[in-house]
Symmetry: C2
Subunit: 143 residues, 2 copies
């Protein structure tokens, strides 16, 4: 019931890309050093984000990473689900897998409601919102 470290790393990296988007492309090595994320591991995480269509990558000299979409069109939920998969699936009492029979499964709808309000908030804020409304950018410039 906690965000994985991979998920946390992914958010850091995405915020980094959002904050530096006007300076062009970023390299994995840079992000790794700035945020103290093991480089090999970060590479894996960014691969997932690329496959999910959130990050655009280019290889070769001068290559690197950028956001695949404008920062105001990527939400926290996008990032988390790209790494962890759909949130909260399959939590029900009927047994393994199928809980369509919500008539007698009393927890079904409560869980659904809780999940919904949770994800609604995570998708209400874009990366752009997050970077703008804080000292994030200044702070990590210094570091």
């Amino acid at each position: 019931m906690q965000l994985s470290r991979a998920g946390e790393y992914a958010i850091r990296a995405m915020l980094h890309l959002a904050a530096t988007s006007d300076e062009g492309i970023s390299q994995i090595a840079t992000i790794s050093k700035t945020w103290a994320i093991p480089e090999s591991f970060l590479r894996k995480i960014l691969q997932s984000l690329t496959k999910a269509g959130l990050v655009a990558s280019s290889r070769g000299m001068g290559g690197g990473l950028t956001l695949a979409r404008p920062a105001d069109q990527i939400t926290l939920l996008d990032v988390i689900e790209a790494i962890e998969g759909k949130i909260f699936l399959n939590v029900c009492l009927t047994g393994p897998g199928n809980c369509e029979s919500s008539t007698w499964c009393p927890v079904h709808c409560v869980w659904h409601e809780a999940q919904r309000s949770f994800t609604d908030i995570l998708k209400s804020k874009s990366l752009k919102d997050l970077v703008i409304n804080s000292d994030f950018k200044e702070h990590f410039q210094i570091t």
Copy 2:
């Protein structure tokens, strides 16, 4: 980012106790069979619930388990936190552990808000509510 199986088992067991509270005491073996939960594992889970003060146990012949409080005074959140600990703690971006400096950590408050709305819903419904507003009781009588 999912409820553990132990948490799911715990909810089943607590609903069972809530639904049978008027018939008196229940045994672990019965709950285990009714809900297809491995008995040894269930014993461990119920120990946690007992320690958390949600379940009252008595040993010896004629012993067994009951809810420690009326079913309308136990919430889903109570049950889940008894098994999994406080939800979502320590998930933040500042680094390992301490995120008091929410001035520059842009995700802090979003996360906090999401966590709050999630837990609010989980504690808005008691076991009694859940058992009454469904065919739960009938269904598991038959099984």
